[in-house]
């Protein structure tokens, strides 16, 4: 066995993907790197060998190279410039790769397994030292080879950058299509690279505020079907959905607790005053967290589930406040640096908030330090909104505008990498990044 020499041998099993209605054959989103690191790591991902009887079932190397390029931290060598195509470690001539100024080379092959499965075997070498950095074997259902290839990219990315890869994760977003006579609103789940889009909900009335359950199996969202707002929780695999709040007035801004058992909501009840509540999904017990006549909304839980951060304009303009999630506590103000902070999302380490920040008349994504109360502006748009952290905490996805329409974008939390994720047609907005699978 190829990896018997190394202690890094790993086995991973890829389960079947959950099935949803396929939207269209191709990706609906296209990623463009607007700003990358100054010196991306030059890498070669050699086409994987295939020992099976017919054509290879999937081009693993092509997807791994694209993922790494899309990260803004790597630059892969075009296939036309590959001097050789080794598929085993013993065949790699490091001098060749050094001449091409490639620092890292990835090789591998696919081996058939019984029952419509394959093994992906891959190795990563440092071309300067000839040292093997990784050697793994991963079994996958043929139907899941795309996701398995994203996991290969995740593992390589983490090994080379120290940051967990998120290529195998999913995003959800709202797409608005005004091309027909009526406006269509769709809630879509896609792979993190925009491929494989699936429609979760399709409505002539507005859909907004999607939120992932922590296990990635459900989405909560607001729908205006029936001409009034209601909050739904929908299970992705089955398509079953439950209307969890259709009270008088506004039902909005759902956010799951980290254990998935509670849902923070904004309700206006009969008097039109928006306040933040927490609904226990099993018992349906509703706990009111805020009591202010101001607009209190856009709640989100801290990673430990003990606190809720939310937007309130109780002091004039909107600012971020925190309050104990079990109720009965006083809300305290978190942001002070400017006249507009809204729509908080807490970083995975619980130390920062991604917010919408008014930067001299421009609505931009800010990173607010929870303890210090200071805010740093990360983006350069005029109408940026809906920020949310990638599950590795290193990147923030958000909505912005380009060429007169709504597009998605992401920025690294250090501000060095900026990517734009545009819809092939129509407008996209309110992106949310799903959790990582535990593997």
């Amino acid at each position: 066995m190829i990896n018997s020499r190394h202690n890094l041998t790993g086995w991973l099993l890829i389960g079947a993907l959950w099935a949803l209605i396929p939207l269209m054959a191709n990706a609906e989103l296209v990623i463009k790197i607007n700003r990358g690191v100054e010196r991306p790591v030059p890498i070669a991902v050699v086409p994987f060998g295939y020992d099976g009887p017919a054509a290879a079932p999937f081009d693993v190397a092509e997807l791994v190279a694209r993922d790494l390029d899309n990260s803004g931290r790597f630059q892969s060598l075009p296939r036309s410039l590959l001097v050789s195509q080794p598929t085993r470690g013993s065949d790699v001539d490091f001098q060749d790769w050094r001449l091409l100024k490639v620092d890292v080379v990835v090789i591998g092959r696919l081996e058939p397994l019984p029952g419509n499965r394959h093994s992906i075997i891959f190795q990563v070498f440092n071309t300067l030292t000839g040292e093997p950095l990784m050697s793994f074997r991963m079994a996958s259902d043929d139907a899941a080879l795309r996701r398995a290839s994203h996991r290969v990219a995740d593992m390589i990315y983490e090994k080379l950058t120290g940051i967990a890869g998120v290529f195998s994760t999913e995003i959800a977003y709202i797409a608005v299509d005004r091309s027909g006579g009526e406006t269509r609103h769709r809630l879509i789940v896609a792979d993190a690279d925009g491929e494989n889009p699936r429609v979760v909900v399709n409505s002539p009335e507005p859909l907004m505020s999607p939120a992932w359950s922590p296990d990635g199996r459900k989405l909560a969202y607001v729908s205006f079907e029936g001409r009034r707002s209601a909050v739904y929780v929908q299970t992705l695999r089955s398509g079953n959905r439950e209307r969890v709040s259709a009270r008088a007035g506004i039902n909005g801004a759902p956010a799951f607790s980290p254990d998935g058992r509670r849902l923070a909501l904004t309700l206006s009840r009969d008097d039109g005053n928006l306040d933040v509540y927490v609904l226990d999904l099993a018992s349906q017990v509703l706990t009111r967290l805020t009591w202010d006549p101001a607009i209190d909304t856009e709640a989100t839980f801290s990673p430990d589930g003990e606190e809720v951060f939310f937007t309130s304009d109780r002091a004039g303009g909107p600012q971020i406040y925190r309050v104990p999630s079990l109720g009965g506590g006083q809300a305290t103000r978190v942001t002070f640096d400017g006249n507009y902070h809204a729509r908080p999302r807490v970083s995975p380490d619980g130390k920062q908030l991604a917010v919408v920040f008014n930067d001299r008349g421009n609505y931009r994504i800010g990173l607010a330090d929870i303890e210090r109360g200071t805010t740093q502006v990360l983006t350069r748009g005029r109408l940026d909104e809906s920020p949310g952290f990638a599950p590795n905490g290193a990147e923030i996805i958000y909505a912005t505008r380009a060429d007169g329409t709504g597009v998605l974008a992401s920025v690294s939390t250090d501000g060095r990498i900026a990517r734009q994720i545009a819809a092939v047609s129509g407008e996209v907005r309110e992106p949310i990044w799903g959790p990582r699978d535990r593997y």
């Binding site: 406006t183 507005p206 039109g272 607009i295 909107p318 809906s386």
Partner: protein, 177 residues
């Protein structure tokens, strides 16, 4: 009191007027085309000479038809204060509702696209509530009025400039059948 005929005309607005987010295919308006709410008939007065001064006659101000035809209230950025130019129009709608207890109205609050979406839902609701309070002050009943906020989700005008934004910060008055 009068026994008003509750005749409504369903006015079809071309969806293209709204460019997007046309709230349904029809808008219901109160009938202002002909015989609107009649004025209370004044009691017969003995019009004898009173030194040139006629007897006082009670009268009810007829809502001006063109004011009842106005169905949108616009707002300043981040505010829900009713601008004075909309006072007469809202007074007309409030009196119409007071005089027509079976009439129902739905107030749809909207915001421009700037800032966060759920906060804008709050702004739209606050605007709808501001309009609601004015209608109640004019004698409309709370049971006649429902509110909904669409925030920035249903712009009247697509565009990212002040011209579009000022037309999107609004409350639409929608009479229900």
């Amino acid at each position: 009191m009068m026994n008003h005929r509750l005749s409504f005309v369903v006015t079809i607005f071309a969806c293209s007027l709204f460019l997007s987010g046309c709230p349904g295919s029809s808008v219901v308006q109160p009938d202002t085309s002909g015989d609107g709410p009649p004025i209370d008939s004044a009691p017969e007065l003995n019009n004898r000479d009173r030194g040139g001064v006629d007897g006082a006659q009670p009268f009810r101000e007829d809502p001006l038809p063109d004011l009842l035809g106005d169905l949108v209230v616009y707002f300043e950025y981040d505010l829900s204060d009713i601008r004075s130019e909309f006072n007469a129009m809202l007074a007309a709608h409030g009196r119409y509702l007071a005089n027509n207890p079976s009439a129902n109205i739905r107030l749809e609050g909207h915001a421009d696209e700037r800032g966060s979406r759920e906060y804008n839902i709050g702004l739209g609701e606050r605007r709808a509530q501001a309009v609601r309070r004015v209608l109640l002050l004019q004698g409309a009943s709370g049971t006649q009025i429902s509110t909904v906020s669409y925030g920035e989700e249903r712009p009247a005008i697509l565009g990212s400039d002040e011209e579009a934004w000022k037309l999107n910060r609004r409350v639409e008055l929608v009479y229900q059948q």
